[in-house]
């Protein structure tokens, strides 16, 4: 039954592709989106059913994949990811009905988008190496093509596409090597068989495979230092695509690390997981710092994706570390926290990216310094972004709060275990979590405050209006989920526990929810997000009522006072750059910002300044220190190599003569 539905999901997605390719222009978007939504809905049903029943959906055929076989087996763990993708996919596709920007309406994009969604849906179901890599690479190439959709209008898109292509191929190469090594050493391509036999493999094989998998999946997840493509590609992709990439695709990187590290290899030594935690910590700090200092809305969101992936990896690493030291319940707790963060991240990042695209469409820019005052002009999309921003900043009563709390709890409870690695790793983990938490609050205060509040900074922003209904419905659904999951996390936590329980060797004695509340088994006290929400609304209502009662005169609209400025204009407003300036200064050594000051003088005297413009640009340190030098080395090598074949037939023949002499000398 579920197997048939899984096949139907794939076929529906392919039908969407076909529709995008051949349907007449008038129906193209509607038809391909509708079919994609149907595919997502089917995927949702399969995933939910598998999560509920625990029976894997298995499809196996040798008709596909020459010289190998095509095989899907969706277990509970994978099903969670399918469900996430399905939800994000549905919302993104609804959004797309109203979205007309960035060339997403073209025939190419319309046919590739359903294929991308389908591959996203199927990757977690793949159950042999060839199938997995096929779907994985299909996902990579389709997403690459979608990133490039708008190449004709903006050159940044090309650059972004190139970075993405290269980084994803680096990752894919590592992944291919790692998985193939594992498969050949275990004598089977099937994940199930590998999982059984991998325990008997030599340690170096296991470790090599794991490290390669971490590199491969890490690059897809956008973990530092493999993240460089992400802050370029995610912003340049059309809205629904960037939402899918940030909210669904990066998840699969986390999926892969867990699948390989805990599933296929059934866990490993502490250093594996310290590596994962290290990557996570680095990603979280680096990502949150850059997102705090970015001034482009979508770039900010992209860096924040790196940040959140870092948190997920912290959880995953902690889980592996606990499992290695025999703390299975804690391991499950940490994994649940990580997976819950995956779910919630999908929800809030999806709504943020979609509503950021709404902003883009309405105000013509995503540069925060070109926006402002949009909350009043976009009465629905504005609040959607606001909700997403509060959720990602882990503020109650929204969902990010719950997963961060669980993550903190898992680290807190791991501390007394007496293991040195844990004792060192956990406080650092908490510190990182806390720092990124604070920075995220900073970031989204900036994003909301500069982008949506205050005065519009440009005429385009001034004229912005609410976007079409499908767009805010798509983004709004996710925003509603932010609130629902934040108030009633018991709706998702049991499913996430089930999903995490599918990873071998982890189990939890007792449930993680008690009524509406989140509680750890055997630990007093719990988190009552519902209660917090009620308290906030109740007290807030009372306060507002009280304010109304003591002062019933209507609110007077005034010119802002601003310590006595006569006229408030947008030019006086704080910009995103200035908002981030204190932080940039604090972390100057890490960010090493470049400042350019352009001063133009009055014609009459150069002692009087006409205008001064300060540009602050912050490069990615890894890009500058690692990737660009590597690229330069490659180019230099290419230039050297180019000189060897100089076009002379004599030289070419001399190569042959030398080769012949070598053959004669060595072989005769």
């Amino acid at each position: 039954m579920t197997a048939a539905l899984l096949v139907a999901t794939a076929l529906m997605g392919l039908a969407g592709t076909a529709a995008g390719a051949i349907a007449p222009v008038r129906f193209r978007i509607a038809l391909s989106s509708a079919l994609t939504i149907a595919a997502c809905a089917l995927g949702f049903v399969v995933g939910a059913e598998v999560l509920h029943s625990g029976h894997a959906a298995v499809v196996h055929t040798t008709t596909l994949m020459p010289l190998a076989s095509f095989s899907l087996a969706l277990d509970r763990f994978g099903a969670l990811f399918v469900v996430i993708t399905a939800v994000v996919g549905i919302c993104a596709m609804i959004f797309r009905f109203g979205y007309d920007g960035q060339g997403l309406a073209s025939r190419t994009a319309s046919s590739i988008l359903p294929l991308f969604v389908t591959s996203l849906l199927l990757v977690p179901a793949a159950s042999n190496v060839t199938t997995f890599l096929f779907l994985w690479e299909l996902m990579a190439i389709t997403s690459l093509l979608l990133v490039l959709t708008d190449h004709a209008r903006r050159s940044e898109v090309q650059v972004a596409g190139q970075w993405y292509a290269v980084m994803t191929q680096l990752g894919a190469a590592a992944l291919i090597l790692g998985l193939v090594l594992l498969a050949t050493r275990s004598g089977s391509q099937s994940f199930a068989v590998i999982a059984v036999r991998s325990a008997h493999l030599p340690a170096w094989v296991r470790s090599t495979a794991f490290v390669l998998a971490v590199v491969g999946f890490g690059s897809k997840a956008g973990a530092v230092p493999l993240h460089v493509w992400l802050p370029r590609a995610h912003p340049e992709a059309p809205g629904p695509v960037s939402a899918l990439m940030s909210a669904a695709m990066v998840n699969l990187g986390v999926y892969g690390i867990v699948r390989v590290g805990m599933g296929l290899l059934s866990g490993g030594p502490a250093w594996w997981w310290l590596l994962v935690m290290g990557l996570g910590a680095l990603s979280a700090m680096f990502g949150s710092l850059h997102s705090a200092t970015s001034k482009d809305l979508k770039r900010l969101l992209a860096y924040s994706t790196t940040d959140n992936v870092g948190l997920m990896l912290l959880g995953v690493g902690a889980s592996g570390l606990f499992a290695d030291t025999g703390h299975r319940a804690l391991a499950l707790l940490a994994l649940v926290a990580a997976l819950l963060h995956v779910v919630f991240h999908a929800v809030f990042k999806g709504s943020l990216f979609l509503s950021a695209s709404s902003v883009h469409q309405a105000a013509g820019s995503t540069d925060l310094d070109q926006l402002g005052g949009l909350l009043r002009r976009m009465p629905v999309s504005g609040p959607i972004f606001l909700v997403g921003g509060l959720a990602i900043a882990a503020l109650p009563p929204f969902c990010g709060f719950v997963s961060e709390w669980l993550l903190l709890q898992s680290m807190l409870h791991g501390l007394p275990s007496g293991d040195v690695a844990i004792a060192v790793a956990m406080p650092i983990g908490v510190g990182v979590l806390a720092l990124t938490g604070g920075l995220t609050a900073f970031t989204f205060t900036k994003a909301i405050g500069i982008g949506l509040l205050g005065l519009p900074r440009t005429q385009d922003a001034e004229r912005a209006g609410e976007v079409g209904r499908p767009m805010w419905i798509g983004a709004g659904l996710l925003a509603v989920l932010c609130l629902v999951f934040g108030v009633a996390p018991f709706l998702v936590i049991p499913s996430v526990v089930d999903a995490a329980g599918a990873v071998p060797g982890l189990h939890l004695a007792g449930a993680l929810t008690r009524g509406w509340n989140v509680a750890l088994p055997g630990v007093p006290g719990m988190l009552a997000p519902g209660l917090v929400a009620i308290g906030l609304v109740g007290f807030g209502g009372l306060v507002a009522l009280g304010r109304h009662l003591v002062q019933q005169r209507p609110v007077r609209l005034t010119e802002a006072w601003g310590c006595g400025r006569e006229l408030q204009t947008a030019r006086m407003e704080y910009t995103a750059t200035s908002f981030g300036e204190p932080l940039t200064r604090v972390f100057e050594d890490v960010l090493s910002p470049a400042r350019d000051v352009d001063v133009s003088h009055l014609a009459e005297s150069r002692y009087y300044t006409e205008a001064a413009v300060i540009h602050t640009t912050i490069d990615d340190a890894f890009e500058r220190r690692v990737y660009r030098p590597a690229d330069r080395m490659l180019v230099r090598w290419g230039a050297v190599a180019r000189r060897v074949p100089n076009g002379s037939v004599h030289r070419y023949l001399a190569f042959g003569l030398v080769a012949l002499i070598v053959v004669l000398v060595v072989l005769a």
Binding site: P645, N646, V649, H650, L657, L664
Partner: protein, 219 residues
């Protein structure tokens, strides 16, 4: 033919092939080189004839006839005609000058004798002992290809490689089945013809060229 006279004739013929090769390396005038090619082809034919007579192999005799016709007559004539207009021209500035070329050819001959010993030993016949001569001719031909600039010299170098290999083949295996031998000779002939046509075309379109001026195509 008695055993010893058979062998001395064979040695003489094979030796002539090699000597022609060295001579080609020495000479600069294209006309002289073409006549050396003819001599070399004839010697090669002689090797085949001697072997054919010795082994009573009619196929080998027929092959010998083909070789003589193609390599000693047709190709030199064609070469001569093709380079008629510049038959007086010389390889004036070889990439490797004549003394160095001769030293190199000595080294190549030594190399051939060292590396060919195994094959010669394996063949086991007295003719087989001459296999290194064939390999040496081939190597020198290859060297001509590398070291000489004129188009005609490259054609000649190619022919020498071919003659060396053919000599080796005769000495090792008493030749291939006749049909294949025919095909091989025909291919060689065609190849040379194509090269000559090309060199003519080059001359027509771009005037008198040295091959190392052809460096327009590179990365």
């Amino acid at each position: 033919m008695s055993g010893s006279s058979y062998f001395s004739v064979l040695t003489l013929a094979a030796g002539t092939v090699l000597v022609c090769a060295v001579a080609i390396l020495w000479l600069a005038s294209i006309r002289a080189v073409i006549s050396m090619v003819a001599v070399q082809g004839a010697s090669l034919g002689l090797v085949a004839v001697v072997l054919g007579v010795h082994l009573h192999d009619a196929g080998l005799l027929a092959a010998a006839a083909v070789v003589v016709v193609v390599k000693a007559v047709v190709i030199p004539v064609l070469l001569g005609r093709a380079s008629g207009s510049d038959s007086g021209s010389r390889e004036s500035r070889p990439l490797v000058n004549v003394p160095a070329s001769l030293v190199a050819s000595a080294a190549l001959i030594v190399l051939a004798f060292v590396t060919g010993r195994g094959v010669a030993h394996f063949v086991g016949t007295r003719a087989g002992a001459l296999v290194p001569i064939g390999i040496a001719t081939m190597l020198i031909g290859f060297f001509v290809l590398v070291a000489r600039r004129r188009p005609t010299f490259q054609i000649v170098g190619l022919l020498m490689v071919d003659n060396g290999i053919a000599l080796t083949a005769f000495l090792c295996t008493a030749g291939f089945p006749f049909l294949i031998e025919l095909g091989v000779s025909f291919d060689v002939l065609l190849g040379v013809v194509v090269l000559m046509v090309l060199s003519q075309r080059l001359r027509l379109e771009f005037g008198d060229v040295d091959l190392d001026e052809l460096q327009e195509l590179h990365d």
